[in-house]
Symmetry: C2
Subunit: 490 residues, 2 copies
């Protein structure tokens, strides 16, 4: 026997970078709350919550946004609600709009923030002394918000990787057509290499680098460059002088010592500005080796020349080189070219660099993301109607009926040092080298490097023979019996 | 009454950059030739013809390649067959393989080359003194090989523009979601702006530059930068501090004097290398103004500072800056940022640069390109069976049954000065400012710049509500009654 809950007032916001499916979370939420309860939208993310920028979401709105990509229905931003005065503002907005619950659709940081809000709004917000519920919904194209069987994947990952896989598949076809290019493709996805691994499993590229392996196996930049150069040379000898190299966005951070070395270099170049002026790049480098902290000088000196030059030359207007703006794919392809010239200077190496990123965050959500997010929204709504707070909505067993689950966010929080202070955060899930997905990749990559075994999936986000497939990394890691997703509602 | 032609031996090759649909040209050709005639494939383009790298195309091959993108079934290259000794090699290969006809699938240059070959192989190739027929098939994603009603569009254009439009549409959604970015997107397409115009009509971007307008209206780089900066400022004042700017790949060449100025700058920087060393960029610029040829110095001096600096700084290992490698989108966004700082320095301008190119040349061919190319292949085959030579296959009236047409290539050749010598070439079709497509664009662009009216078509290459639509520029320019394509064979 169920009692129908009515009169609840719920507000929903997007937080962080956009991802496909957000609109369907709102639709699923609206559906489960029904006409007996009220759903409000918060404009422009957490900042809009602080400003009290709310509006009522109608059935007409839902008709317009259902199954569309992006977060453009309400907008998003990256404001963190942390300071006591921010909490006071949120409480005032809750009171003004008579809110009973807030739904935060966001990534690991946003869900951490949701848990913090849940704690702060637990009681004494409303006149009767009761609190306001806060529920999180797991979003990120990066795939680094996942918790084994309990949260197989965040939403947006499937859409982004299917879009990247289409493009990488097209490039792989291009290499076999024009027979002369090496494409170096940096793929969005922050620190973790989930996106790169997934795209590799879908397309079978010539080479795919996985940052987590670079760190765990202590692979140096020179070793990476050497191994790519050797594959290029071996393929050229077989008449296959072309290929595609996938480079995860976060690679640089995983090369031991690289990030701190860059920070050190930025500092010291500013400090010794006068001494450096008038010197050419080679002279500047020799000067800097001795000025960097022990270890950093050696690391800089050990890098392939083209990479050193790029690190010295590509400075912004303040003379800095932010790590996030290092074009790893460009750096790698220059270094590979130089290495090939040293090893076999008769081999022509023609490379083209790419960054695939923003164009997939707001793609039309795939069949999976569309169904998944609608059900995530419904799960979030059920948690609200069940008077829960501090939970994240999830769905398990995606291959057989998808069971809804509420995960207490507090149980996920670890202590991590951020900006020198201990902070409670949800740990980012990295690619594990002992996971079935990585092991499968490892068992195939030599064949992909030596032959033309590429796969070009095409535009299967919404239609087509493989459009109902789950991400391959999820199927492998969760040991799902079926490649296809199944929802009870279907 | 028709007589069945049998025993003909036909060879087919790809030439130039790949484009979606090439495989279906081969399939259509194979179908019309039937089992009574033989179809050979030539590997790796015109170079493969010179080397005699041929193989027989079987029905099994066709089953594997039909409806797939790319040219990877045989590969392509850009070799031009011009020298008398090359013609002798081709004749020898024709004799070795007993060929009766060659089909060249390529762009304007390749079809020009096909006409040249047709002339050279017109007679005295075979033992009986007869010749070898040569038929061209019009391919290019750039859309610059089109001839009014007789050849409404080349194949590959529809696929490339639908892929770019999906991505640009995604970026437009992203701007309305994250509410803070200006995306500057350079679109492949060589000199002409057909691709940019088509993508603009499909997506309604905030701004789209059209090179042909820049040349015809004598618009300077500073004026372009000013007009973008003003739109950014006006939108920011309305709370719309984001947008997408489309930049055609060929823009630089259309700015009066720009290309020759860059060549002059490359020459003089090499000449005055010693004088320049030790100077900073500002000093180098002042030095160069007076060294450039009359007019070029003034043009360089008139450019926005960030563009000047980029022209001086971005030099390759030989100290050169090839025009083709100028990242126009990056140059423009830096200059717009500087201009906004001068005009309204309270406005935050956050830009992200993109080049969309190679990932669409080998996309899975759209429904239109798949049907169009199959029929083009069949048309080419019919011209061969009808003993024609020097013709290009075409289809007219694409909106109502698509009639096959053979166009004598010689009739298309104009005399143009190339590398200082007169040469017969097919003139590249540019965007005409008095064409219905441009006039339509012109009538809408102010609205698109001032509001959020963007359209995100999604992945409709193969399936979906608008998947059967012809390119919008073609529908407008040909005044087709229907947006959809129709083929007699369907």
């Amino acid at each position: 026997m169920t009692t129908k809950v009515s009169g609840k007032r719920v507000a929903v916001l997007f937080s962080g970078g956009p991802a496909a499916g957000g609109h369907n979370v709102v639709a699923g939420l609206k559906q489960i709350l029904g006409p007996e309860n009220t759903l409000m939208g918060i404009k422009a993310g957490p900042k809009g919550l602080l400003k009290g920028n709310l509006f009522e979401i109608t059935d007409d709105h839902i008709q317009q946004i259902i199954n569309t990509g992006g977060f453009n229905f309400m907008g998003t931003d990256r404001t963190k609600i942390e300071k006591p005065e921010d909490i006071d503002k949120v409480k005032a907005v809750c009171q003004e709009y008579n809110l009973d619950a807030i739904v935060v659709i966001g990534g690991d940081d946003s869900n951490t923030n949701a848990a913090f809000l849940a704690e702060k709004l637990f009681s004494d917000v409303k006149e009767d002394g009761s609190g306001v519920q806060v529920i999180g919904v797991p979003k990120t194209i990066d795939g680094d918000l996942q918790l084994g069987d309990e949260l197989p994947i965040s939403f947006g990952f499937d859409t982004a990787t299917k879009i990247y896989a289409e493009k990488v598949g097209n490039l792989l076809r291009d290499t076999g057509s024009s027979l002369k290019y090496w494409h170096f493709v940096r793929l969005m996805g922050r620190s973790a290499s989930h996106v790169t691994l997934e795209v590799a499993l879908q397309t079978h590229p010539t080479i795919a680098l996985i940052s987590e392996e670079v760190r765990e196996c202590n692979i140096t930049m020179s070793e990476i460059v050497d191994s790519i150069a050797n594959i290029v040379i071996e393929r050229a000898k077989k008449g296959l002088n072309y290929g595609v190299v996938l480079v995860p966005e976060g690679l640089i951070e995983f090369i031991p010592g690289f990030t701190t070395m860059i920070d050190d270099l930025n500092d010291k170049m500013a400090k010794f500005k006068d001494e450096l002026s008038g010197k050419n790049i080679r002279e500047q480098l020799i000067f800097m080796y001795s000025k960097l902290t022990q270890g950093h000088g050696e690391l800089l000196e050990s890098l392939p020349d083209p990479i050193k030059y790029k690190l010295m030359a590509n400075r912004d207007e303040h003379g800095n080189l932010p790590v996030s703006q290092i074009e790893t794919e460009t750096m790698l392809s220059s270094a590979v070219k130089a290495r090939i010239n040293e090893l076999e200077n008769t081999i022509k190496f023609d490379s083209i660099n790419h960054f695939f990123g923003y164009e997939a965050r707001c793609g039309a959500s795939t069949l999976f993301d569309a169904a998944y997010t609608y059900n995530l929204g419904a799960t979030a709504g059920s948690l609200i109607l069940d008077d829960r707070t501090g939970y994240m909505a999830s769905l398990t067993d995606l291959d057989k009926g998808a069971k809804p689950l509420g995960i207490p966010i507090a149980s996920l929080l670890d202590i991590e040092i951020r900006k020198g202070k201990p902070a409670k955060v949800i740990e980012k899930a990295l690619v594990k080298l002992d996971s079935p997905a990585f092991i499968y990749f490892d068992s195939r990559r030599k064949l992909w490097a030596e032959n033309d075994l590429s796969n070009s999936p095409g535009p299967v986000q919404l239609w087509g023979p493989t459009s109902r497939q789950l991400p391959k990394t999820v199927v492998l890691n969760r040991e799902y019996a079926s490649l296809e997703f199944k929802f009870a509602s279907e």
